[in-house]
Symmetry: C2
Subunit: 211 residues, 2 copies
């Protein structure tokens, strides 16, 4: 996570599910722990990172961890929620600028690829949640897909897309995005992302377009 990214992320009870510390000092410590945990979990994975790795990086004593989190899983879950919101915050504005249904899908895929290739750590954390915090993982994808579904249905209603497109297509598109991000954003940058985006979007556009 970049310093810039850290600035943007105030503690928010509604999002993280955590009680907000009463003092400024407490909020700073909590934020330091979350940021450190993102780096450590992202780099080493859930099981390989110790609480001490997190507190060391955060510049905080071991015991302080338990002032804010009940367990290692607890902070991981909070992180997933936090990061899920970041992905959404990165993609949504780009989508909203797009003028029609097809370009909205292109903007969404482009924004996602972009984000993932810059924040590979975040990708790994959300993905590992499938096993560490399955509820948070499902929550992330269910809400992501719900947004896609809504876009597709709106596009269909407006006559820009095939009639009947909906949830199934949304899951398909989400899976596509995730795998393309994994392959071309995380595993290797051997292809120009713009080219990947163009090719993938042609597939989707021809698949969704009203015929």
């Amino acid at each position: 996570m970049t310093d810039a990214a850290k600035q943007q992320v105030p503690i928010d009870e509604a999002v993280s599910g955590l009680p907000v510390p009463k003092t400024e000092r407490g909020r700073r410590t909590l934020r330091a722990l979350l940021d450190a945990a993102a780096l450590e979990f992202g780099a080493s994975g859930f099981h390989a990172t110790g609480i001490t790795d997190i507190t060391r990086r955060a510049g905080v004593a071991l015991g302080s961890f338990y002032t804010y989190f009940a367990s290692k899983e607890d902070i991981f879950r909070a992180l997933v929620t936090d990061l899920s919101a970041q992905v959404k915050a990165h993609v949504t504005p780009r989508v909203e600028e797009a003028p029609d249904a097809l370009s909205r899908e292109k903007a969404a895929l482009g924004g996602y690829l972009d984000f993932v290739s810059q924040q590979q750590l975040i990708y790994r954390i959300i993905d590992e949640a499938e096993f560490v915090a399955p509820d948070a993982y499902q929550g992330h994808y269910r809400s992501t897909v719900a947004r896609v579904t809504a876009r597709l249905e709106a596009g269909a209603a407006r006559g820009e897309l095939k009639e009947g497109v909906g949830e199934v297509e949304a899951w398909a598109i989400a899976g596509m995005n995730v795998f393309l991000g994994l392959r071309y954003g995380v595993w290797g940058k051997d292809r120009d992302l713009a080219e990947v985006l163009a090719r993938a979007h042609e597939l989707v556009a021809d698949g969704l377009r009203r015929r």
Copy 2:
């Protein structure tokens, strides 16, 4: 894993990377350990299952485990290779029966959805490999996608698909398949798989078809 599935899976050094035991008794024990491990890892995940869980279910003493595997990760890796071959063995014949490029893709998706919804455990094991045995995970998807790419390029050469389809489209399709399998095969069976298949395939077919 069903009993039927067990029968089909002899120990094969080339696939599993393990030395084949010299005696019949040894081969039986190794197979029992692999089958037990698939059940335990699939049900509880890598970190939550202990070696004792595996040996108990296999009906074998704790120490015997280390006659066959160097570590817990070792058996997990072998399992991924083993299961990857099973997925391929389930899907390939169906694909080969199909007469043209588009129906081959439909057969592949159908076969995969079918397999995953019956063998949810296998799905989880392969997916968890992303974190436990990243090399085996990448190997599985890279070879899966290589097969898809070859199918698409053959279809394009035959004039059945758009010109230029290839690797990017193959990763997109693979991601789609995986997410649809996860959502409709593993998380919930609230939709008829045949309907999911029909809708998803329409998306892919319109996306790939020569225009």
